[in-house]
Symmetry: C2
């Protein structure tokens, strides 16, 4: 069998692990693919940069565009990240006849359509298991295992940094700033943590998951995004008192709107009961929870980041794509046949958990309940806690549109008897 020629774009933490595994697992990979894999070139920014893996000097190049355009490559692995030059390189690789494996969530979430169309036109595979939740197989299960079922909801802890921070806040009662500083010290958060903390990273993954689960095109800009910087120790304590925990979730959901099925895609902090499978996902682990009509509830759990776990996902794709090359076939391509609309956040149906500091006088509960009712929001539970200056109302609403709920909170803030709205959090799962 002729060997399959593979080029790797980028030799950072993921790329170097891909290169290491290609060499260490060469025998097994050849047996599984049906032909040996030959590392044909590695594109880097600087030839003399320090690297975690040794690359034969003859294979290194700074001319990534020249590499992908060589014409003799079977597979190009793109692990540079970011929009450009990654997009140009992937398009160039496909045009030159190579199949592509990428871990590039940002690019897929912003401009997946261009890539998928180019792959289809070229008759080549474009695989991207590593783009969402690192080592956790989630793309393939959604695309293939559940292809005969109807997925109705996907909820994921897809950002390890924010899960680490929220887990520490939950475990030690620490505030956001303190937990973030600890995460930075331990290398779980970057010096500029914006992409993680503000939910940009999770939003890109939400767009990819929503597109895949609902066979529609959802981009990062379609995803409603709220980060965790506003989550306070009081919010977390309030959740704890309810037997719940606060997680940053990427949610993709199918919802009826005006008689049509539309997609809701969003990233925001959520209060979930501790009995929910996602609640026990600790530290920087990731997990994706899926609900479908026939299969019911599924969850996929593992390491969402890191060079080695991400490289595992890249190589799994590489084996499949390699087998397809040899067989002259193609994998399940991308499909957006359902072409569902994306719901604006205001029309998305959610539930709220609210804590209010209120005056301790007769009729407070009734007045507050009236405000909910005026805005068309029905209350599931309301609990009065504390007396005098500590009097508090804890309210959990039934489902209503996010706009109705936001308007209710706005109105509550304007009430004289409401001294402060101390916590507003969306809710998933049944709180007890």
């Amino acid at each position: 069998m002729r060997p399959l020629k593979v080029a790797v774009l980028g030799a950072g933490s993921v790329g170097s692990q891909v290169i290491r595994l290609l060499s260490e697992q060469a025998g097994d990979l050849a047996a599984r693919v049906g032909a040996p894999i030959e590392l044909a070139g590695v594109a880097v920014r600087r030839l003399d940069a320090p690297r975690e893996v040794e690359v034969p000097a003859g294979l290194l190049t700074t001319d990534a565009l020249g590499l992908v355009g060589r014409g003799d490559l079977d597979i190009v692995v793109e692990v540079i990240g970011g929009i450009e030059p990654a997009r140009t390189l992937i398009l160039g690789a496909l045009e030159a006849g190579a199949s592509v494996v990428t871990a590039n969530k940002a690019l897929l979430a912003e401009d997946g359509a261009t890539l998928f169309e180019a792959a289809e036109k070229a008759g080549r595979d474009l695989y991207y298991e590593a783009a969402v939740a690192g080592a956790i197989p989630i793309i393939r299960p959604l695309r293939e295992s559940l292809a005969g079922d109807k997925v109705t909801k996907v909820m994921g802890i897809v950002n390890g940094t924010t899960n680490y921070i929220l887990d520490k806040m939950d475990t030690y009662g620490s505030g956001f700033d303190e937990a973030l500083a600890e995460a930075q010290e331990l290398g779980y958060a970057e010096a500029d943590p914006t992409a993680d903390v503000e939910g940009f990273d999770a939003a890109a993954k939400a767009a990819i998951l929503a597109s895949l689960a609902f066979h529609s095109r959802v981009t990062a800009s379609d995803v409603h995004r709220e980060g965790i910087a506003e989550v306070t120790a009081a919010d977390v304590a309030s959740a704890k008192a309810m037997g719940s925990v606060v997680k940053l979730l990427a949610i993709a959901e199918l919802r009826e709107a005006d008689g049509q099925e539309a997609v809701s895609a969003r990233v925001h902090p959520v209060m979930i009961p501790r009995s929910h499978p996602l609640a026990s996902v600790r530290d920087a682990f990731n997990a994706v929870f899926v609900e479908s009509e026939a299969a019911g509830q599924l969850m996929f759990y593992g390491r969402g980041a890191g060079g080695s776990p991400t490289a595992s996902a890249v190589l799994g794709d590489l084996v499949t794509v390699g087998r397809n090359r040899l067989a002259g076939g193609l994998g399940t391509g991308e499909s957006a046949y359902a072409d569902r609309a994306v719901l604006p956040m205001g029309e998305t149906v959610t539930r709220y958990h609210l804590s209010l500091d209120v005056d301790d006088r007769a009729g407070v509960l009734a007045s507050v309940a009236a405000v909910f009712s005026e805005h068309g929001v029905s209350i599931q539970t309301v609990r009065q806690e504390g007396r005098g200056a500590d009097a508090q109302l804890v309210v959990v609403s039934h489902e209503a549109t996010d706009a109705q709920l936001a308007a209710t909170v706005e109105a509550l803030r304007g009430m004289e008897i409401v001294r402060d709205v101390t916590s507003v959090m969306r809710v998933e799962g049944e709180l007890t």
Copy 2:
């Protein structure tokens, strides 16, 4: 596009849900496969049996062999179960040119080799996601997503009945008989619960998982099997006192033996710490925990049985197989290239947790420790509890061969100062 002709063998709880979904999801299935799916025939034992789904009378037949031999079928779905006539029918279908999707764990675990060879010879797909852990995608992730990685261990809660029973024993402190009776009343256990309770069902799944994870042939008879009938309320309480829980696990593990990598495949009750992801799998849910070199720890969770969840897995396979038919390609086939030996249980390395009722006198701990040492077993922790007639030793060993551990227990039972060995349980994960 010409429609793909599909025959379903068996119209029981799984078959009827497959037939229902084929009709209800017809539009989505056609879009995902690339051609409509046509139900071409349904083989049943009795034409007039009551069924959960309506099948056009013209499609029903009792001549299953005639149906699979028709020659115009694209895909045959086998959901009869058992060894015969399922094997003959699958072989007949492959020979007649159809691809096959099966949920038949017993047959795959007993004689998978025959089926896989027939599929390869016929140049047809044989898919079986539904055979292990129902709706949970585990076959595809092991076979494809982790194909570039090295799997070192698979531990699964793959039998819902026994998990339900053990969960009730853990939650309510009930005994095995009581929990089994409750499970039978609720329909979680059959009138004759042998296949579940004695671990036969889990052993078949262990064989399939071990074969797949380690690219070797492991049959059900290679799997060491112990059920849960001997698990007592005292065992469960003892685990609880250690912050642990008892689960029936199917374990497939790669182990060094005489300088070679060999496979250990076994089913037995295990004590695992409550912090382990498998510990929180409640009721009749299933979960499969995977460890691999690059990806690290992964877990897959969901419903392991039931008509509708199993049908979801069958249809996922059907979509992939259907796409392969249309493209003229084949999926990743079975591979046993590594051909690793299976370790006898005695040579498998495990750890034990032991509770001993002992005489409360000086030197007891030293005498007991000496017995471990004589058998080459080192002790991780030993704790003396209670005084006088309630004196107890709780011992957790380090890793040793199962034969050494069994001999140690045997010797302990013969000691005068050991009044009783009240609990012997294997251990996975770090007990604290």
